[in-house]
Amino acid sequence: MKNFIVISGHFIAVRVRIIRTKILNALFTLNLFENVDKPNPPEHELIAQRLWTRVYLLVLAILLSFVIIFTLFSYQPDTTIINKPTLKIYNDLPSSVDCPCILLSIPYYTFVNINQSFHDVCSSDFVNQDSMWTFMLFKAFLNSGNERANISSFSRMSLLHFQALKVLCTTANRVVHNQVALFLNSSLTSARMMELDQFQNQINAAISNLLSDTIPSRFMHQLELVRGISSRDSLVSAFGTNWQPLIHNETSGSIIYLQPQQYNGSSCNCATSADCMESMMLTLKSGLQQIVPGMLCGCLSIDSLLKSTLEGVYNQTCLDLINESYNFSTPIMALDANGTHFHPINATTINSIAAQLFVERWSVNISFESYFNACQPNTCSYTFYKRFNVLYVVSIFLTFYGGARVILTIVIPIMVPLVHKCLRKSKILNT
């Protein structure tokens, strides 16, 4: 067995040696420059041809390896086109994919849905026109008369207070619905399908800007403008809350002078300040006066309302006192403090609630799928710039090799003797 191995090892060594000599021989005698039509050339031609062959192979190898490296490492575009992609296909595509939308502008309502819930007070009996509460307040208002003394009494002012609240609720509601509808009807302009992150960033930015900035600041700005102009243009309220007639000269034809109403003792008057106000006073059954928590009255009910808080409507004890002093047949119930996020209740002014348009919660739904369906890309394409493209390398290699081969076969037989001559010349010169 061992013998056999030795023998076979020996055999292989011999074979290798034979093959080696064969290869060396083949290399030595390799002649790519032989003239097929001129067999058995003279010896010096044969030697020259063999030399050319070696130079030729060397140069070719250098050139070709250069070409291969160059082509292997150069970037080549590779464009893929997908027709009528579905969302599922789209999601698997690389982020550089380019999908032109059929519609340049897509209305927001096709993929955004905005809902909101309003403050409890806006849907409560406190502002409901047909509620028992409003009816009772109205009755109290009619019975209170127009005496100057009771300008801050609950019975005279509470109706105006809650009506102003109702105005704010309804206008805020209207503004919200209207502005949201306007936004939803406006269009997102995108010539190309946006990728998910960009889509979410952009839409979220637009919506949060709209909801927390544009709509509230517009509403408050308009409200302040209307309030400011109407109160500072000294418009006279028929309720006598800001101006009172003063008869100085009791003769026929004399002027009745309009005197500004004063609040807080006489520290504040409606001519020089719109913010004069004092606490609303409730006359109890016992005839005692009690402050109604959070409720203020002043030159104009809308102005004093905004400075008030909603403390009263959350305070059952207070409401009970009111029920009791007016003998309300159906006692009104306080609102649940857990139903609102505007806390603390006794410190949050109605102005700051209005600044959020009485909205408790926004719920925003954005659907990328609907956006995709509205965009309806007909085709998507992406281009990769790839290295190591075998097809490209082979085709360039073949082209180059073919040319180089022919050129070298012509150039080398000319160049080699020339170089040889030059070398010899310089050698002679040197010696």
Binding site: E34, N35, D37, K38, P39, Y75, P77, L103, L104, S105, P107, Q129, F138, F141, N146, E147, L160, Q163, V167, T171, N178, S186, Q202, A205, N209, D213, S217, Q222, L225, V226, G228, I229, S230, R232, D233, S234, L235, V236, S237, A238, I247, H248, E250, I255, I256, Y257, L258, S266, T272, S273, A274, Y385, L398, F400, Y401, G402, G403, R405, V406, I407
Partner: protein, 849 residues
């Protein structure tokens, strides 16, 4: 080069033989030399043509730069179109724009402080000044000024905040110039929009106050007089004031925009010529029916001069107080001498904008990880060389084979034509012979018949493989669709339109040289209004006709004058809203990086225009609703005194006046409706008509409902009656005191039905429809594309196919020539190994036999 060298070259050229062979007879050598010359000439010509083709063929090269810095980017940007995808696509304007307004100094002066307001008003005062006296309205006017300042600044700051919050979205890094243009456009839009809306709202409110003749407490518009009736009871009477300006006495009830220069007065107002006797005039300051209207017409002239200010101040109670005048040396763009406060308020009191666009911050935020550009090279050395090499090798291969054949055929023909009979079968046989004997693997060393035979087999296999591959290659290149990018310089509109229609090209992009241009350049919107706004019903004559003095009930049609005046105002407001909105809309910069196609352009314009049409009336209606509601809930007193009473009571010997709200209306069913809690209180309007026998009969006016405020009355009512000519005639007969001009009823067809309430007409700004004109040619002109690029998916042309195939053929044949002999040998060896044992078996069996 001397003579002998020249001769040598010529000799060398004439003896040049690339087709040397064993045949050394003169004739063969002559043939070979001829072949050589033809070969060289044809090769040179073909090579020249192909090189030119190769050199001018476009080829795109793609270059990528990792983590580019801003400097690298800017250098490259000058030369190439770079594509650098942002790692963060959205950047808030806050980070890239600094925009700080400075405001007019009045907003920070003594004149908007509470101390000044209180100084101007004497609480203890129990007498009135004349309406034209500065002291009558001053405190209100300055408080209003303070509100205008505050709200203007707030509007600007709110606008700025929301502008800063806006995300600037870019998928690709923008170059500095494009970025600047785009951001500047946004900034300009903002600067234009922010003040405009505010000043418009203000105008709107002022008109609203006037329309209902709401009474201000200042005694500039109206004065209450104490009056005693015949039966000794006291009551209050309201009279309207007026002003004298340029010899014209006007009354606030009829012309609410009355005004005069303010001043200080003693006991006497007029001289004998009915001219004001000023104790001192406040130069540039104006008083009007409403404090706000006077304020807006005023200039700040007097408040820039300390001595003038002191002389004003001394007319008030305790002149010890110190107020500092405005600084006349402070630079302002509003000339204090002739610029009214209205003009300043229109600009939201903004003096200057300090602006700063931060490109490097944008660059850092975008943070491109990689920038890439394609170079559209004509002279790509590498590519050209390989192409020429390839083509050269292919050509030599083909020509070397073909040319000797042709030459020998041409010359042999002469000599041998007579010997062999012309015969198709002969020729065919000869051709087949040539084919069979063809040897491309001739070797100088292996010339034995066995070798020659082997070489012939190599040749055949080589030919079969070669032609198979060439055919496949040709088919492949012919069928293969290639995406080529094509540049087109200075494209005309027609060329672009043609390109857009073609379906075989894609990604047509024509970058605009002007990125943004205002919409007015290519969009024209024209509103068509409802005929009511051009009808007889908003003329003075009609309003005067309906201002009947003998009215006893608030719901009489004879008292509808103010309602139609309000309608007139709303028509005017609607026009102004629209023209205001259109001005803004026209100035909106439309941005497009690339020229849009007509379809896209039109759909884009349509949505822009539709959005404008929806939003414009909307802005108007919000303010209207808010104002109406606040007026209702505050029950402001009206000039017509329909919603209040001033009760005079005798309280312990002294007369006392008290306001009483008359909020209720007994509506048609007799049910009491209070407008404090109900915003829909109304009653059917009636026309009191003088019937026969001097009795009055009342007829209901279809579609008209009355309420306490003219604005409510108008909004509850509809158009029905105004379409009935006979009704109009009845009105004229009932109310006209003398011969009146004829009034024509409405008649034109309309998109609004006849029972459309004025409310919805107003909310729609009386617009029937819009005429939209979109001009694509104008859009093209403002975009000014300098070039278009598109990619075309096409099959290669014949020349390209040939060039490609020939290019590959050379290398292919070389490789095949190298490989074929080995392949054939290998196959043969394998075949032999399979066959030999059998052959030896056969031989053995033969031996046995």
């Amino acid at each position: 080069m001397n003579y002998s060298e020249k001769m040598r070259l010529i000799r060398w050229l004439s003896q040049l033989n690339l087709f040397e062979s064993n045949a050394i007879d003169d004739y063969s050598i002559k043939l070979q030399r001829r072949s050589t010359r033809v070969y060289i000439i044809v090769l040179l010509i073909a090579l020249l043509l192909l090189s030119i083709y190769g050199l001018f063929r476009n080829e795109t090269t793609y270059i990528e730069i990792q983590n580019p810095t801003i400097n690298v980017y800017e250098q490259l940007q000058d030369r190439y179109t770079l594509e650098c995808p942002c790692s963060d696509v959205s950047i808030s304007f806050q980070q890239i724009v600094g925009l700080v307004p400075t405001y007019h100094e009045i907003c920070f002066s003594d004149f908007v402080t509470q101390r000044w307001f209180e100084y101007l008003f004497d609480v203890s005062k129990i007498a009135s000044y004349f309406p034209v006296d500065f002291r009558t309205s001053a405190t209100y006017q300055f408080q209003l000024l303070a509100i205008l300042c505050r709200l203007s600044i707030q509007a600007i700051e709110d606008g700025l905040r929301s502008f800063f919050d806006t995300e600037f979205i870019t998928r690709q890094l923008l170059s500095k110039s494009v970025f600047s243009v785009q951001v500047q456009t946004d900034i300009d839009n903002f600067k234009l929009n922010a003040p405009n809306e505010f000043s418009y709202s203000l105008d709107f409110l002022r008109h609203f106050l006037i329309s209902d003749a709401l009474l201000p407490a200042t005694e500039t518009m109206s004065i209450f007089y104490l009056t005693q009736s015949i039966n000794q009871s006291w009551f209050a009477r309201v009279d309207f004031d007026g002003f004298v300006s340029s010899n014209y006495i006007c009354n606030c009830y009829h012309s609410p925009m009355c005004n005069a220069t303010a001043g200080f007065f003693g006991d006497q107002l007029f001289d004998k010529q009915q001219q004001y006797i000023y104790l001192g005039a406040v130069d540039g300051w104006v008083v009007a029916c409403y404090p706000i209207d006077g304020l807006l017409l005023s200039t700040l002239k007097s408040f820039y001069n300390q001595t003038e200010l002191n002389s004003i101040v001394k007319f008030f109670k305790n002149s010890s107080d110190n107020f500092t005048s405005l600084d006349p040396n402070k630079p302002t763009r509003f000339n204090p001498h002739n610029v009214t406060i209205q003009t300043i308020a229109k600009e939201c009191f903004v003096e200057t904008w300090v602006q700063h666009i931060n490109y490097s911050s944008y660059f850092n935020n975008c943070a491109p990880k990689v920038c890439a550009y394609t170079v559209n090279q004509r002279f790509d050395i590498f590519y050209t060389v390989t192409t020429i090499f390839g083509i050269y090798s292919g050509l030599t291969m083909v020509l070397r084979l073909v040319i000797p054949m042709i030459i020998s055929f041409l010359f042999r023909k002469k000599n041998e034509a007579s010997n062999i009979p012309k015969n198709t079968t002969n020729r065919l046989r000869k051709f087949v012979d040539t084919l069979l004997q063809l040897n491309l693997f001739k070797s100088a060393r292996y010339t034995t018949p066995h070798h020659v035979n082997q070489q012939r087999w190599y040749t055949r296999v080589y030919f079969i493989l070669f032609s198979a591959i060439v055919i496949i290659l040709t088919l492949y290149t012919a069928i293969n669709v290639r995406v080529t990018q094509i540049d087109l310089a200075k494209p005309s509109l027609n060329i672009i339109l043609d390109l857009q229609k073609r379906t075989d090209i894609s990604s047509l992009q024509c970058p605009c040289s002007k990125l943004s241009s205002p919409l007015k350049n290519f969009v024209k919107l024209t509103p068509i209004y409802h005929e009511i706004c051009s009808s007889d019903f908003i003329t003075e004559a009609w309003i005067v006709l309906l201002t009947s003095l003998s009215v006893t009930d608030f719901n009489e049609f004879g008292a509808f004058g103010p309602v139609f005046r309000l309608l007139q105002t709303y028509c005017d407001l609607a026009h102004r809203t629209i023209s205001n909105g259109l001005n803004l809309f026209n100035e909106v910069q439309f941005l497009s990086n690339d020229l849009l196609t007509p379809d896209l352009f039109e759909s884009h314009m349509r949505s822009e225009s539709l959005y404008f049409q929806i939003t414009t009336p909307n802005e108007f209606s919000h303010l209207l609703v808010l104002m109406r509601e606040i007026v209702r809930v505050s029950q402001f007193t009206t000039g017509t005194a329909t919603n209040f009473a001033l009760d005079i009571t005798n309280k312990s010997g002294n007369l006392q006046g008290k306001f009483r709200a008359i909020d209720g209306i007994a509506n048609d069913t007799g049910y009491y409706c209070s407008s404090i809690i109900n915003s829909n209180c109304k009653r059917q309007s009636i026309l009191r008509n003088l019937g026969s026998y001097l009795t009055f009969n009342t007829i209901p006016v279809t579609g008209f409902y009355s309420s306490k405020y003219s604005s409510d009355t108008l909004f509850f009512s509809d158009l029905r009656s105004l379409y009935v000519q006979s009704f109009i005639s009845t009105v004229v007969i009932a109310l006209a005191k003398q011969q009146s001009v004829p009034f024509t009823a409405l008649s034109r067809p309309s998109n609004f039905s006849r029972n459309t309430r004025f409310e919805s007409l107003t909310n729609n700004l009386f617009i029937e429809y819009w005429i939209e004109l979109f001009n694509y040619t104008a859009y093209y002109e403002s975009c000014q594309p300098l070039s278009c690029t598109y990619t075309i998916r096409e099959r290669l042309g014949l020349v390209s196919i040939i060039a490609t195939v020939i290019g590959l053929v050379g290398g292919l044949s070389a490789i095949l020539r190298l490989l074929t002999p080995y392949c054939v040998d290998l196959v043969l060896a394998f075949y032999r190994r399979q066959v030999q044992p059998k052959a030896s078996q056969v031989r053995e069996s033969e031996g046995k036999n």
